[in-house]
Structure formats: structure tokens, C-alpha cells
């Protein structure tokens, strides 16, 4: 049984986890590199730069070049992490990553802060709602978002140790630290937080804490909830989803467009393997706008109340 931290939780942005872990990895392995594009401070790579300056490059505001250079670096055995914001790291360099990283299956990691709606007051131009979907579509790519600080550190380390292209997405804002620091995570394997048999809730990234709160409310009302943290949406954990189809009711929750993200990835499996209803909670195929992060979640129905209502509506 998994033992979670108890509320009130410590709050930490998952970009901090990337910054802390990549600095450790850089010390341990001289092949680990960071390729920055003028937002190293914000993406938390400064510690890495100061710790192992020879393993750090900053190409300026030139994301496409960053991706291509990383591809080149990786051909000699280096393990470059390209670091920028999710909107630029997925869309601006998407074709470079497809042609020069995924097609030749090179060992490059795209590590991005400001995932989902978290760059809230920057507005719609900066909120990455399509990034995981874009990368989910490209062969050879793995797509990952940890739920909290500890999960993210573990997943960053695994990404470094796993050969091939990986897309990692982090939050700009603080999210509750729900996991114990000794909890282990495996790329492609869902983390079961709760087991139950009335309804399954599958969440990822910054929405796992909302799903957890919703699950606790549902339990207090006598509903038995199975709760999965699907930190990897590609390769997706088919077995875990097939287990959920035995319940027959799944609610997915994500800070991403409901098209092509976690909800779609789960639905793909369900369509082939199970006679199950899926309700997707996430960004309602609309661009973001400037507003507090919580307000943006509310506009899109990514709230504890809506998760509870949606789950109750299914049973």
C-alpha cells in the first residue's frame, strides 16, 4: 500500500524538481548536458550550469536550433536535455524533434517548464495545452508529467537512464507534495494511489492532487474509488486501464486539451479493450487567457467539485 503525505502539504513547483535532479545527474555523469534557450533561470537549470558549466550550453532565443544541436550532441553518446517552456519546446521545435530526434531515435530529452495552464497570467500565448498531444503522435517519443516534486525527480532520473527521446513536462506553479520521497516511479507504469470498485479516476500532472481530494470526498460519501496517477501517457499503461474497464466507469483529469492528451490516450485503450464509459475533464478545446491559475481551471471544469459530480453522475 502506498503511503501518501498528509495535508497540509508542502508546496513546490515541479520545475524545481527538474532543476535539483538534473544538477545531481550532471555531477554523476559527464555526458548529461543541458541545452538552454535563454530561459534557464526560469526553467531552473542555473544550478546545473553552476555545478557542471562545461556540460551546459545556452543557444539564446533559438529553440529550433537548440533541438537540432541536441540531436547532433547525442550522436556521440551525450545525453542532452533541451530546456525551455512547454509551448516552445513542443510546438516551435516540433519538426526538428520529429525529423532529427525521433526519426533517427536519438537519446535527446525535451524538458519543459510552464506546462498546461500554469503560466496563467502570461495568457493564452504561453499556456501549453497541446504539447503532450503533439508529442504523443510522434513515433519513438515518450511523454511524461510527474504529479509532484518527488515523482518528477524520479521520472527525470529515469528519463536520463532510458535510451531514446522523452518529453518531460513541469509546472511553473507550486503544487502539493503528495508523495513520500522514497516512492518509486516507473516510466510507462501507472501509480495506483487508491484501489476501489465503483469508479476509476485517472489523472496526471498538476491535476493528481485535485483527483486525490475528489476521491477522498467520494469515499466519505461511501463511493469506492480507484485512483491512478498516469504520469506517462506514452507508452500508456494498457494493463492498468484494462483493470479499470472491469469497473466500467472512468473519469480522466488533465491540465491539457481534452483532445489528444491523457483522456484520449485512455479512450484509445478503452475503445479497443473494454465496454466502458469515459468522461474526460480537461481544457475544453479552447485557448487559455490571462487569469489566476485556479480561475482557468474553474473555467474548464478542472475542479474537485466537477470531478466529484462527474464521478457521481456515472454511478
Amino acid at each position: 500500500m502506498i503511503v501518501l503525505n498528509k495535508a497540509p502539504y508542502e508546496q513546490k513547483a515541479t520545475r524545481e524538481a527538474f532543476g535539483d535532479e538534473i544538477a545531481e545527474l550532471g555531477k554523476e555523469n559527464k555526458d548529461i548536458m543541458v541545452v538552454d534557450a535563454d530561459i534557464g533561470g526560469s526553467c531552473k537549470t542555473t544550478k546545473f550550469m553552476n555545478t557542471v558549466p562545461k556540460q551546459h550550453v545556452n543557444v539564446g532565443i533559438a529553440e529550433q536550433n537548440a533541438a537540432g544541436m541536441a540531436a547532433g550532441l547525442s550522436t556521440t553518446g551525450k545525453i542532452p536535455f533541451v530546456s525551455t517552456y512547454a509551448v516552445f519546446g513542443s510546438l516551435r521545435m516540433a519538426e526538428q524533434v520529429r525529423q532529427e530526434v525521433c526519426y533517427p531515435n536519438l537519446n535527446v530529452k525535451i524538458a519543459c517548464s510552464h506546462g498546461g495552464l500554469t503560466p496563467a497570467n502570461d495568457g493564452g500565448s504561453h499556456q501549453a495545452i497541446e504539447d503532450m498531444g503533439v508529442y504523443r503522435t510522434i513515433p519513438n517519443m515518450r511523454v511524461i508529467m510527474g504529479a509532484d516534486y518527488h515523482a518528477t525527480r524520479k521520472l527525470v532520473r529515469q528519463a536520463a537512464e532510458t535510451y531514446g527521446p522523452v518529453y518531460l513536462r513541469f509546472t511553473r506553479d507550486k503544487v502539493p507534495v503528495i508523495y513520500n520521497e522514497n516512492e518509486e516511479f516507473e516510466i510507462g507504469k501507472a501509480k495506483q494511489i487508491k484501489n476501489g470498485n465503483d469508479v476509476a479516476i485517472i489523472a496526471n500532472g498538476d491535476t493528481v492532487c485535485l483527483a486525490l481530494e475528489a476521491a477522498e470526498i467520494l469515499e466519505s460519501k461511501g463511493v469506492s474509488v480507484k485512483l491512478l496517477d498516469m504520469h506517462t501517457i506514452k507508452p500508456i499503461d494498457r494493463e492498468a486501464i484494462i483493470e479499470c474497464t472491469k469497473i466500467g466507469k472512468i473519469v480522466t483529469v488533465e491540465d491539457h486539451n481534452i483532445l489528444n492528451g491523457l483522456g484520449s490516450a485512455v479512450s484509445d485503450v478503452v475503445a479497443e479493450e473494454g465496454n466502458t464509459k469515459v468522461r474526460r475533464i480537461g481544457v475544453q478545446d479552447r485557448f487559455g487567457e490571462s487569469a489566476p491559475y485556479e480561475k482557468l481551471l474553474e473555467i474548464n471544469g478542472i475542479t474537485v467539485e466537477n470531478i466529484v459530480d462527474t464521478a457521481e453522475g456515472m454511478i
Binding site: D36, D38, I39, G40, G41, S42, N58, V59, G60, I61, A62, Q64, N65, V87, F88, R92, N121, D122, G123, G124, S125, H126, E289, S290, A291, P292, K295
Partner: protein, 278 residues
């Protein structure tokens, strides 16, 4: 507004600075540094040079303005508010839910924004498209674009540049805010641009480097390029100081995207009220 005097424009530039800093202070987020470095030429454009109509912001024959370095939206918003495109109260709503003043310029939400920007390197191509459309439609409007020196590291800037030259867009006038800083540090250290004026010249632009805080030089240069129909796009490379007008922000990398606290805000407003130090 061609009868406005140089002294009035200088005063106006101070007001825009005050408004931009006030906006960022209220929002407790936003980009003061690059707003202040761009304040003087933005003032010259909105209060003397550009043919725009706040009553009819989508007027087909208007001059266009593209803020390719969209993060300095506060200085454009200040110009739009002072020119009457939006009510003055709007300045208290920067980055708030439902505000026309989004974190980065949004043409669907704010009158007077000709195209949404925020992802660096892309706006100049849009300006080239607008200028090309003007040529194709045989219209007299001109297109003004503002790019950053950090932004000039994006490859797309040079793709836009070569297109502007190919299509002989002498109706395109670019201001390059050469303030020497980007986010992670000085431009010279992060990714040296070398001489941007020479680069644009080699690409086929008419270029001039000026003091971007001298209203006289800005106006003189705008007059020089005004009726030149030589088939060449123009770029005015402006030597500027990031944070210009607020001593503790000047040339300090950290003021790229940070809001002042109350004490800093009061000091900034007080300094700005005294005008620009020469």
C-alpha cells in the same frame, strides 16, 4: 497629430513609462525593462508618426503596428490607453481575467492590436505579410514593427528579413530595440549578435543606428525614411537602455520580467516625474 512638438512628445514618453510601470505594479507581473527601453520610439509612432484612428481601430487604410517582442505589451497598452483606444481605467486590469490587456498582445481582445504576439521571432513575418498586402492592394499604409535584440537570435527573423527584401517592401519600417540584454543575461554573453545593423544591411535593408532615447533623432530618422520609395525595407537600430528612466532598473537583467514592490514603485514614479536623465 503631426503638429505635436518635440517637448510634448518627450513629456508623453514619460507618461507612457509611468503608465507602463503602474500597470506592471498593479498586476504584480509583467515586463518593465523592455517596455521602458522601447518607450521613446513607441511614443513617436503613436503620437506623431502613425496614421491610426482610435475611433475606428480597424480602419482598412491605417498604418499597422506589430509588437514582435510581445512581452513588452505594457508600453503598447500605455500608448493605446493614452491615445483613447481603450478607457484609461483599463490600465488597472493588466493580466486580469477578461481584460483587453492580456499578458501578451491579443488582437481578439484589444482594439488597436493588429495581430497577437508573444512567441518571439514570429511577429516580423506577420508585419512582412501586412506590408506585402499593402503593396498588392496599392494602399499607402505603412507597417511598423518592433523587435528585440535577443529576439533577433530567432532564425525566423532572418527568414522574414529576406522576404521583405525580395518583395521590395519599402513600406515596412522596423525598430530594433538594441538594449543589450535578454533574460538569462547580456546578449553578448548569451548569444552574441555581433553588429545587427551590418547584418540587416547585408540582407538588403536600409539601416541606420540611432540613440533610441533621443526624441530628436527618432523624429529626424522617421522624417528621413518617410517618403522614400526605393524598394528597400528600413530598419532603425536603436541604442537603448533596458529600464530607461528608472535608475535601479537601468541595465539590470533582473528587471526584465519582474514587478516592483510598493517602495520600488514609489521610487520609480518619483524618478520618472523628474524626467529622463540625459
Amino acid at each position: 497629430m503631426s503638429n505635436i512638438t518635440v517637448e510634448e512628445l518627450k513629456e508623453q514618453a514619460i507618461q507612457l513609462r509611468q503608465t507602463a510601470v503602474t500597470m506592471v505594479y498593479h498586476a504584480q507581473s509583467g515586463h518593465p525593462g523592455g517596455s521602458l527601453s522601447a518607450a521613446d520610439f513607441v511614443t513617436a509612432l503613436y503620437f506623431r508618426e502613425m496614421n491610426v484612428n482610435p475611433e475606428d481601430p480597424e480602419w482598412a487604410d491605417r498604418d499597422r503596428f506589430v509588437l514582435s517582442k510581445g512581452h513588452v505589451a505594457p508600453i503598447q497598452y500605455a500608448a493605446l490607453a493614452h491615445r483613447g483606444f481603450v478607457p484609461m481605467e483599463t490600465v488597472k486590469t493588466l493580466r486580469e481575467y477578461k481584460s483587453p490587456f492580456q499578458g501578451h498582445p491579443d488582437s481578439k481582445k484589444c482594439p488597436g492590436i493588429d495581430i497577437s504576439t508573444g512567441s518571439l521571432g514570429q511577429g516580423l513575418s506577420c508585419a512582412v505579410g501586412m506590408a506585402l498586402a499593402g503593396k498588392l492592394d496599392e494602399k499607402d499604409y505603412r507597417v511598423f514593427a518592433v523587435i528585440g535584440d535577443g529576439e533577433a537570435q530567432e532564425g525566423q527573423i532572418w527568414e522574414a528579413t529576406q522576404s521583405a527584401v525580395k518583395y521590395k517592401l519599402d513600406n515596412l519600417i522596423v525598430f530594433l530595440d538594441d538594449n543589450g540584454l535578454q533574460i538569462d543575461g547580456p546578449t553578448n554573453e548569451i548569444m552574441p549578435n555581433l553588429d545587427l545593423e551590418k547584418k540587416f544591411e547585408a540582407f538588403g535593408f536600409t539601416t541606420k543606428r540611432i540613440d533610441g532615447h533621443s526624441m530628436e533623432e527618432i523624429l529626424e530618422t522617421l522624417d528621413e525614411v518617410k517618403n522614400v520609395k526605393d524598394g528597400k525595407p528600413k530598419i532603425i537600430v536603436c541604442n537603448t537602455i533596458k529600464g530607461k528612466g528608472v535608475s535601479f532598473m537601468e541595465n539590470v537583467v533582473g528587471w526584465h520580467g519582474k514587478a516592483p514592490n510598493e517602495e520600488e514603485y514609489d521610487k520609480a514614479m518619483e524618478e520618472l516625474a523628474r524626467g529622463l536623465n540625459a
